[in-house]
């Protein structure tokens, strides 16, 4: 039957960051080729930073990604501090965590509100929501704006933050700014509730597709991990420290992608909100646990589309944790720390959970503090392989819906990962 011959070619999937293509070929009802391709132009960041001073590394590598520039800044600072043997104060740590939660909230809400909801409503973009779902859109922009303002207040700028430096912050927020921020964070909880309820009402439009895989994230005792911790997956009994990340990521180059692929105990792994949730959901805060229950996310999920739901849950978590950190900071004596770094030769690894998953930076410095080698492993590059294997299971299962629907669901799957493709190639 002719309808069992399918050719799908999506040249640059829309409503994702960066450039990715989908190719499907089927003959007589048999899938002959299904491929997730990443043609993004490499920028060669690991080569760019060689010869640059330690103090410039975060400034440069922040530019790997416009959306998670805070995450890159923090992973970069942690790697440099590990290499140079620099510790940070409790204030710096709390400010960094606050900044990271602000970015998670900003990135997740942008993805859910602007990029995913149009799929659930089967429209082409967020623009038409101004007429059909104005309340939802206003709630999304309100949360997004506040998340950005949080990052402005703490980091000096929301994209490519300024104040987060090696060992310190170059400027501190005023206490009255923190107090106001806290009251505004409290004020958006009902907006998040409204967004969560809307997503729940539309959640039946996420396909019931499942494929169990290896879920990789940071984990730590006592708290759902974002800033600190060791590496964990559902396939290992013991955690692995971040400086042994190369044993886990096992990067390799494939012809279909300028971003490297990776795998550990299975043919692929998944990182991001769902991986974090699957590994650490017992450590969620009270409101975020309620949000998960309300959204029907109970325990481990093997449905990659649930990554979107886990992102909603993490938005609530980010707001709760941000308020906690503000309280902590309000109890501290906030004083600017001096910039006194003693350089020495050394190498170090920094890892942070950024919106799309676990991120590693590794640098080696000479005795003048000049970078001589660098490696950055990006969450989306770790996810590409998993997207490919999801495609291979999904294409035959969804083929009978016809080429248009198959194409729609494959694109929707890519978006579910919230890929940051230019970042993944970097």
């Amino acid at each position: 039957m002719a309808k069992n011959n399918i050719h799908i070619e999506v040249n640059h999937v829309t409503r994702v960051e960066g450039h990715g293509n989908i190719v499907v070929d089927a003959k007589d009802g048999q899938i002959e080729k299904v491929q997730w391709q990443v043609p993004e132009a490499p920028r060669f960041f690991e080569a760019m930073v060689v010869g640059r001073d330690y103090s410039e590394l975060a400034v440069i590598t922040s530019r790997i990604c416009g959306i998670c520039s805070i995450g890159h800044t923090l992973a970069s600072l942690k790697a440099t501090e590990a290499a140079l043997g620099i510790g940070i104060s409790e204030t710096t740590r709390s400010l960094r965590e606050l900044l990271l939660h602000g970015e998670t909230l900003q990135s997740h809400i942008l993805h859910i509100g602007y990029l995913v909801v149009p799929d659930l409503l089967r429209v082409n973009s967020v623009f038409s929501l101004a007429e059909t779902h104005k309340d939802l859109l206003l709630a999304v922009t309100k949360v997004h704006r506040l998340a950005n303002e949080l990052c402005d207040i703490i980091g000096g700028r929301t994209t490519h933050p300024i104040r987060a430096r090696v060992g310190r912050f170059s400027k501190l927020p005023e206490k009255k700014e923190l107090e106001e921020l806290k009251s505004r964070l409290k004020d958006i909880l009902p907006d998040l509730q409204k967004i969560a309820e809307t997503i729940k009402a539309l959640a039946d439009n996420f396909p019931a597709f499942e494929r169990e895989t290896e879920y990789l994230s940071l984990t730590q005792a006592g708290e759902y991990a974002f800033y600190g911790g060791d590496c964990i997956t559902n396939d290992i009994a013991e955690t692995i420290p971040v400086n042994r990340y190369r044993e886990i990521v096992n990067e390799y180059v494939v012809p279909q992608s300028t971003a490297k692929f990776g795998k550990f105990n299975r043919d692929s792994f998944m990182v991001g909100a769902l991986a974090r949730y699957n590994n650490n959901f017992r450590q969620l805060t009270s409101l975020s646990t309620q949000a998960a229950e309300m959204l029907g996310l109970k325990g481990i999920s093997y449905n990659p589309f649930m990554n979107n739901i886990a992102q909603v849950v993490e938005c609530v978590f980010a707001v709760e944790k941000s308020m906690e950190h503000i309280d902590r900071l309000l109890d501290m004596e906030l004083a600017l720390e001096a910039d006194k770094i003693e350089v020495k030769a050394g190498s170090g690894v920094g890892a942070v959970e950024v919106p799309r998953g676990i991120l590693f930076h590794e640098y080696e410095y000479d005795d003048r503090g000049v970078c001589i080698k660098a490696n950055c492993v990006i969450p989306t590059n770790l996810n590409h392989n998993n997207i490919q294997l999801d495609f291979e299971k999904m294409a035959p299962e969804f083929m009978e819906l016809g080429p248009d629907e198959l194409r729609f669901y494959l694109e929707m799957l890519v978006r579910a990962y919230d890929p940051c493709i230019s970042c993944s190639t970097h």
Binding site: H12, T14, R15, V16, E17, G18, P39, A41, P42, R43, F44, F45, E46, A47, M48, V49, V50, G51, R52, E56, V59, I60, R63, I64, C65, G66, I67, S69, L110, Y114, L115, N124, S125, V126, F127, A130, L137, T141, H144, R145, N148, G156, R157, T158, T159, H160, I162, R163, R165, S170, K171, Y252, V253, P255, T258, K260, L336, S422, C423
Partner: protein
Amino acid sequence: MSSKPKVAFFDFACCEGCQLQVANLEEEILVLAQMVDVVEFREVMTGAAPAYDIAFIEGSITRRADENRLKDIRNRSKLLVAYGQCAVSGGINKLKNRRPGMDEVKKEVYGDSAGMPHLDTYPTKAIDEIVAVDFYIPGCPVNREEFLWVVKELLLGKTPRLPNYPVCVNCKLQENACLFDFSIICLGPLARAGCGAVCPANGVACCACRGTVDNPNKNAMHEILLKYNYTVEEIKKKFDIFAVDPEVQSGKK
């Protein structure tokens, strides 16, 4: 059919942080969306169009295929705006050009696989090294208010003029302490203002992410370097971060 100006957004090698600044306009982007027809913007919408009144280009060019795509967009656009420093000067992507050669660069990142054809790259080029550019919006990232202002000017048929005074002026107006007095080497004396001196105001040196003013006062900079005991080479190395050549009058207004 709508008679509103057709506007499109494209990105090449970059972090897409500048288009995020457009998204960060929040409600204002919805107002803007009423004044124009956004016909192509891959990151936020599904859709395409044959021709554009204004094409906004983000990112720099590092491959032949991207060069052809850019030329095609130029041919179909009345006005072409390079926004963000990667588009304006090549930006951070040109740090790659400072390395010994493309083969070494590829090997450093891809190791033994560096020879695979899909990983091919050439030295980074700014947009105007390939096609004619009508307007520039510099910065890493662009300042979202400035972006909005430029769009409004263009829609009114005006020629937007960027601030043509150094970042030091912004610092003086804000009464920021001069970072040279804290032993921090800052490019503010030559760098183009318009950012509100956001880095010095936050205690960090200006890296001239918006390039230099049209006629940078190099004599004054030399005096500062002498006074604080820095070399021209140190300054030039800082300018490399955003691919700015302080010797060359930028001419990008």
